[in-house]
């Protein structure tokens, strides 16, 4: 049986790593769905109805799995991290409660109309529903990230002793909830979601375009996939460069506010100046695998790069080493490699975006088979980048559950036995593996079945006055 602290942490890791996929899909898809709905209603062109209906199916299944896995996370604070919940509930519970009331409710009720109500409600209400779903999805992230960012850069509180227990009291809600990390985290996360979905759309579209144009499989819906590819490329061209730009500011912010995490990201043990940014670090001895920059390493680094990143332009800046902190270091290798994977992927996405943009500009978007292969291979890499990004954030802040206030090991439920925690850990690993397999199965099925065909569009009973294509230049207000 595992130690309850270890088992609880692993369980939270497993459930979050799986859960995050689904909000990323729904947050990323939401703005596309609003756009498709708007165009569908305004132009009445079948392509937009196809786009809306096809991507709504993927949104709906993502939302359902996101809901059931999200309730698990809310409950886990109580079941596995009761000491944390008691100590910090006053600050931490509020955002979760507001998320439920303000965001999740909006999203879940209007999704009912959006998914099931095309024939039942007016165009105006239908469009409003798509916007409400998108706003709800994005507001959910606001409140969840307020809670999370507060743990990274806690502000606006005092620690009070209540009956022998240290309890966090809210003193300044604005400082607490609009804490320094929140803005960086929110922009980075939201942009990552749209970027991930753009990559997902582009990868799948590239597959069908490639099969049609390069392999010669006739696909009646190829115009659907060409449009998807173009829309996804536009989104990628906007989001990919932005992600690296604010990612850089975010990194500097981490260096200022969580120096221990930054040191782990760069695997800097002793305080140094002029620290290189290691692109690769290879231990010569497998025993050193947990420490990418232990002695006798082969490393390839940009001189002064890490110092330059931490300080925002000064290659000789000092970076505080892991040895200089009182608290034990987080698992350095995980943070170090996850950070490199994230940054490497970020640059790869920029390359993909510019490559695709260039080919499009040259009028060769549909013929470049190497580009198509690169896009296909990158279908899921946006989600991988989100995962490794979160690993940097969450593993990097260890041993703290609340930075400099409470250690993770102190947050676990006091009465929890190793047997209980291990049993549920195994249960969750099995259930979540099945959930992922089922989700993958369903999404692949939806993609294979493709967008609705002409017969299906015709069978939809939409009142004629809503469905008529207005003459050019005339908009159709209802």
């Amino acid at each position: 049986m595992l130690d309850p602290v270890i088992a609880s942490r692993l369980q939270f890791a497993v459930t979050t790593i799986v859960h995050i996929i689904f909000p990323v899909m729904s947050m990323g898809l939401a703005p596309f769905l609003v756009y498709f709905t708007w165009k569908d209603i305004r132009t009445g062109k079948p392509i937009y109805e196809r786009l809306r209906r096809f991507w709504t199916k993927i949104f709906a299944i993502s939302f359902v799995v996101g809901t059931v896995t999200g309730i698990v996370l809310e409950f886990e604070f109580g079941t596995n991290f009761a000491a944390f919940s008691t100590a910090a509930g006053e600050l931490f519970g509020g955002p979760l409660a507001v998320e439920g009331m303000m965001a999740f409710m909006l999203e879940a009720t209007f999704l009912g109309i959006f998914v099931f109500g095309r024939d039942r409600v007016s165009n105006a209400l239908y469009f409003v529903s798509s916007v409400a779903v998108a706003v709800g999805t994005w507001l959910s992230a606001v409140w969840i990230l307020i809670a999370n960012s507060w743990m990274q850069t806690p502000r606006g509180f005092e620690v009070v002793n209540e009956g022998g227990q240290a309890v966090v009291h809210l003193t300044d809600p604005i400082a607490a909830y609009l804490n320094p990390r929140f803005g960086y985290m929110y922009v980075h996360m939201q942009n990552a979601a749209v970027e991930s979905v753009a990559l997902f759309m582009a990868g799948i579209a590239a597959y069908y375009v490639f099969r049609h144009h390069v392999w010669g499989y006739q696909n009646e819906q190829v115009d659907f996939w060409e449009t998807t590819l173009k829309i996804a490329l536009v989104a990628l061209l906007i989001t990919a460069p932005l992600q690296v730009l604010h990612g850089d500011m975010y990194g500097r912010h981490v260096a200022e506010t969580q120096p221990q995490k930054f040191a782990a990201m760069e695997a800097v043990w002793e305080t140094e100046s002029y620290v290189p940014e290691y692109l690769i670090a290879v231990p010569t001895d497998l025993a050193d695998i947990t420490d990418p920059r232990a002695k006798d390493l082969f490393g390839l680094g940009i001189p002064g790069g890490a110092s330059w990143l931490a300080s925002g332009g000064d290659p000789s800046a000092e970076i505080q080493g892991l040895d200089s902190f009182d608290a034990e270091a987080p698992p350095v290798a995980i943070v170090f490699w996850a950070f490199r994977a994230m940054v490497g992927l970020g640059f790869w996405f920029i390359l993909l975006a510019f490559w695709g943009g260039y080919r499009w500009w040259k009028g060769q978007l549909l013929e470049d088979d190497l580009l198509h292969k690169a896009l296909m291979g990158s279908t899921l890499l946006g989600i991988v980048a989100v995962e490794v990004g979160w690993i940097v954030t969450e593993v990097g802040r260890q041993p703290w559950v609340i930075q400099d206030v409470m250690k993770t090991s102190a947050g676990v439920s006091p009465g929890l036995t190793g047997a209980e925690a291990t049993l549920t850990l195994v249960g969750f690993v099995v259930v979540y593996a099945l959930l992922l397999a089922l989700y993958g199965y369903v999404v692949v099925r939806i993609i294979r079945n493709g967008p609705p065909g002409d017969e299906e569009l015709d069978s939809v009973e939409v009142p004629d006055e809503n469905r008529e294509v207005p003459p050019a230049g005339v908009t159709n207000d209802d």
């Binding site: 299944i61 939302f63 359902v64 799995v65 809901t67 059931v68 999200g70 309730i71 698990v72 809310e74 409950f75 604070f77 109580g78 079941t79 000491a83 919940s85 008691t86 910090a88 509930g89 006053e90 931490f92 519970g93 509020g94 979760l96 409660a97 507001v98 439920g100 009331m101 303000m102 999740f104 409710m105 909006l106 879940a108 009720t109 209007f110 999704l111 009912g112 109309i113 998914v115 099931f116 109500g117 039942r120 209400l125 409400a132 009291h169 809210l170 300044d172 809600p173 604005i174 400082a175 439920s413 009465g415 929890l416 209980e420 549920t424 259930v431 959930l435 089922l438 369903v442 099925r445």
Partner: protein, 333 residues
């Protein structure tokens, strides 16, 4: 430092906020038990239907609603966490395995209809149909056990009072589920549904009496509350609503019957609140006043709820208005 001193000075609106939030929690729990309750009940009725058309109708009936309905559980959990964090932590960690059972059931319940619709083959649909039923019955059963154990201050998962509360809640979900399906379906299942509704209401009355007796025997401290005028009044109200439910169902006044089942659910939630008060967690003896968070966050939450809850009610009105009336044959999950 921003000056929000006015939020810290004392309870806003001059209301007894700890009591208000304690009450609000049970409004949220009751709303969840009613709204998602009829989804669960519809899931239980699903088990009795062999015809493909009936099964599709049941899935289509809950399709647009269940997700919004289930959010009430999240809101209840979030509000308990935010207002009474130590109670949230204590209850949830004490009933660790039970809550994982609830989560498992909710996962099955949420996933099954999506999966059911993915493929047409019989074996696939039979198994996902079973998963749907298992989740629909398992979730209210285990949540009921949780509520019963909460009332008893139990530290073990299985208690007589808890088990009986679980059965009570399951019976109640079938009562609402039947009324909901009556509203959402055209003739076809009517005769059967009416029979199930009458069976379920009888089962509910028996279960609720047994539960109250078991609670009184296990925790004699509850007896004064159990025999208080408020609880006795609620018992009378329950009998009236139960009778009304049967009559309304027979007369085909389905919406009114559904409203009667809502009354029964809120009645049950009120009894739970009355039996707990003035404690909020009998296991530790913590009172409402002791467990509540401090004034500043409580005021903030109250302001938030005063703005948000009416909005949320509006969303539900829009949703239920858009999908009022029976399911059309063309509508699917």
């Amino acid at each position: 430092m921003t000056d929000l001193g006015w939020l810290d000075a004392g309870p806003i609106f001059g209301l007894p906020l700890p009591e208000l939030w304690f009450g609000l929690l049970f409004v949220m729990l009751g709303t969840f038990l009613f709204l998602d309750g009829f989804d669960f009940g519809a899931g239980a009725v699903f088990a009795t239907r062999d015809s493909e058309a009936d099964r599709e109708t049941i899935l289509a009936a809950i399709g647009p609603f269940w997700d919004g309905n289930e959010v009430w559980l999240v809101v209840f959990g979030g509000a308990l966490f935010a207002a009474f964090p130590s109670v949230y932590a204590g209850l949830f960690s004490r009933h660790y395995l039970l809550l994982f059972g609830v989560l498992g059931a909710l996962i099955l319940r949420g996933l099954a209809p999506e999966m059911y619709e993915q493929r047409d083959d019989e074996t696939w649909q039979r198994w996902w149909g079973r998963a749907f039923v298992a989740g629909s019955v398992g979730a209210p059963l285990l949540l009921g056990v949780f509520v019963g154990n909460w009332l008893l201050g139990a530290t073990t998962a299985l208690t007589l009072g808890g088990a009986l509360t679980g059965l009570t809640v399951v019976a109640l979900t079938v009562v609402s589920g039947v009324a909901f399906l009556q509203v959402k379906t055209r003739a076809g299942m009517d005769a059967d549904l009416q029979r199930y509704g009458e069976g379920a209401i009888a089962a509910y009355l028996v279960a609720v009496v047994l539960t109250l007796v078991a609670l009184g025997l296990t925790r004699p401290g509850l007896v004064p509350t159990l025999t208080s005028p408020a609880v006795l009044g609620l018992v009378v109200l329950t009998l009236v609503l139960a009778g009304g439910y049967v009559v309304l169902l027979r007369q085909g006044r389905d919406v009114a019957a559904l409203a009667a089942s809502a009354g029964l659910t809120y009645g049950l939630a009120t009894v739970v609140a009355l039996l707990l008060y003035p404690t909020v967690d009998p296991a530790s003896g913590t009172s409402v006043g002791e467990a509540i968070v401090s004034t500043l966050p409580l005021n903030l939450m109250s302001l938030g709820a005063a703005i948000l809850l009416p909005l949320v009610a509006t969303y539900f009105v829009v949703l239920y208005t858009a999908f009022s009336g029976p399911i059309e044959p063309s509508e699917g999950y």
